[in-house]
């Protein structure tokens, strides 16, 4: 059984490292903090969309079509008289659901493939890696279009297809990290005392590859959001009545944009903002978690000054 005292220390330690992480984020990465703020804002908007939106989703105001921004409709209305602000807010919910679900699925896929392939190695690794190679050679967007054209569009197919393809791509990193963690003495010790393989993978390897998993998640998330909206734009994503940002720019909407450009501007702007925020946040996380990149960035600047302006002489 776990005795009382070490349990407490581990818990306190993990708690303080999270707080430390936040402090370092705010202190060292102002842009990353901004990104985190944007990400949280999007989460908040997505979760409370039905409280924040002034009008219902797809609620038509037929006498007010194609209006610019006004007091009644803060961001204007589209060709069916739907309030753009409400549509954009509900679009955040869709982007959030698809983004988080698909990225989580991608994480599970890459952990599964990466750990098994990296830990067992040998022929198994060779075969699996050829498959990973092959999938990475297939052009992603076309692959997804083809699969979705067969399965039929909708939120679930998009999440599954995006999650699995992105996860296969990300498994490379997890595999290489697993291979290096496998060589550590504590893993060998676990093997020596006869730990079952499942326990070694879950208790010894998984916690030690947490950083690359988080980094991968943060790089996959904006990619997933962008790809989902690209698919919706091409008509192979979330089908029209649901207010996906990509779908709002596609099809008929493009004809009406020549009369009311706001219709196209708002969804695109919000999409860019979210992807920007998630990117910046992800960059900051990577800088803070990846020890190889830590602290080495500012040196060249110093050297140039020394050499150029001769501070030593």
């Amino acid at each position: 059984m776990v005795s009382n005292s070490p349990y407490k220390t581990t818990e306190r330690k993990s708690h303080s490292s999270l707080v430390n992480f936040l402090i370092r984020l705010i202190r060292e990465k102002p842009l990353g903090t901004l990104g985190a703020f944007i990400t949280l804002l999007m989460l908040f908007t997505g979760i409370f969309a039905n409280y924040l939106a002034p009008y219902g989703v797809n609620e038509p105001h037929l006498s007010n079509t194609l209006e610019g921004p006004s007091l009644r409709f803060l961001l204007g209305t589209d060709n069916l008289g739907r309030d753009m602000l409400s549509q954009v807010i509900y679009g955040a919910r869709i982007s959030m659901i698809v983004g988080l679900c698909a990225s989580t699925l991608a994480s599970f896929t890459e952990i599964f493939i990466g750990i098994l392939s990296g830990y067992f190695g040998g022929v198994f690794d060779l075969i699996v890696q050829r498959f990973v190679d092959a999938v990475m050679c297939l052009p992603g967007l076309i692959l997804m279009i083809v699969i979705i054209s067969i399965v039929g569009p909708g939120m679930l197919p998009v999440i599954i297809v995006l999650g699995i393809t992105m996860g296969i791509g990300g498994s490379r990193v997890i595999r290489s990290v697993t291979m290096s963690v496998k060589e550590n003495v504590y893993t060998q010790a676990a093997v020596a005392i006869g730990c079952p393989t499942k326990r070694i993978l879950i208790r010894h390897i998984l916690p030690n590859i947490a950083a690359p998993i988080i980094i991968n998640f943060s790089t996959i998330l904006p990619g997933v959001i962008l790809t989902e909206d690209s698919l919706s734009f091409l008509g192979y994503g979330i089908p029209p009545p649901a207010p996906s940002w990509g779908g709002m720019i596609s099809g008929n909407a493009r004809l009406f944009m020549f009369r009311d450009p706001w219709m196209g501007i708002w969804p695109g702007l919000s999409l860019s903002l979210v992807v920007y925020g998630v990117n910046m946040f992800g960059d900051a996380i990577r800088d803070l978690l990846d020890p190889r990149l830590r602290g080495g960035v500012g040196r060249y600047g110093l050297k140039v000054k020394k050499v150029k302006y001769g501070e030593d002489t």
Binding site: V135, L138, S149, V151, V275, G301
Partner: protein, 309 residues
Amino acid sequence: MIIPTVWIVTLIIFFMIRLIPGTVVDLMGAEFQQVSQAQMGTQAIEHALGLDKPILTQYGHWIGNMILHGDLGNSLWKGTPVINDILKRWPVTVELGLMGIIISQLIALPIGIYSAIRQDTWGDYLARSFAILSLSIPTFWLATMVIVLPSIWWNYAPPLTYIPFNVDPVGNLKMFIIPAVVLSLSMAGAIMRMVRTMMLEVMRQDYIRTAWAKGLKERVIVFRHAIKNALIPVVTILGGQLTLLVGGTVIIENIFQLPGMGQLVLSAATNRDYTVITAVMLIFAVGLVFINLTVDLTYGFLDRRIQYR
């Protein structure tokens, strides 16, 4: 290593279409009824496609025809060989892609290098924000805005009719330049950040310090000493960027109405013309495999140290 990869690519493409739930034949039966009045039974369709044979025979047949006769099958709707369509359309996609790559390099290299050698100045911050911005703005939105906004503000519309290169080279380039710039922007951001990181890394190395100590000018150090080593890893990410580029060309071709492979695959996906889909995907995949191989070989050629490892 390349032959098993290509072989697995063919396996995935071939079996994906057959194993995914929702049979193609049923969908096609429905489509046939909608498009032409003629009733076509499930078995007739299966027979026409050769789907009534065992699946391994089908695969062998498909591969054999492809390798021996260069035959990618016939389009299910038009009945003409797919290869004809592809031959007609690939120059558009390749031209768009090449121009996109070239323009993205023209944008990314100078800005990336500048941003590295003037690290932590306002120019650097500006360049980095530009890089992040170009990564965040979705291609399809930028392309739509490029068409919509000028037409509202200045009554100007970018040319949307395709002009073949051999008919009017200048008109062709004029037509391609706007789509290519839009396409290149998303790539430029990623490459720029890579160039910057690599330059920073190289500028910290001992031989650069030696060059400074010799009293060489900054221009000479950057362009003769640093740049060569910094650009080697950049070549490798081009391979990964190309997969994204293919996705980008599909979107750009759709918006700017260029008759390329992307349009072909989109219309094939709508019609569920699966011989066209498999053919186009196979060509893209094999193309990417070979380009990646070339990139790997170039890498060894550029960095002679690799051979000794």
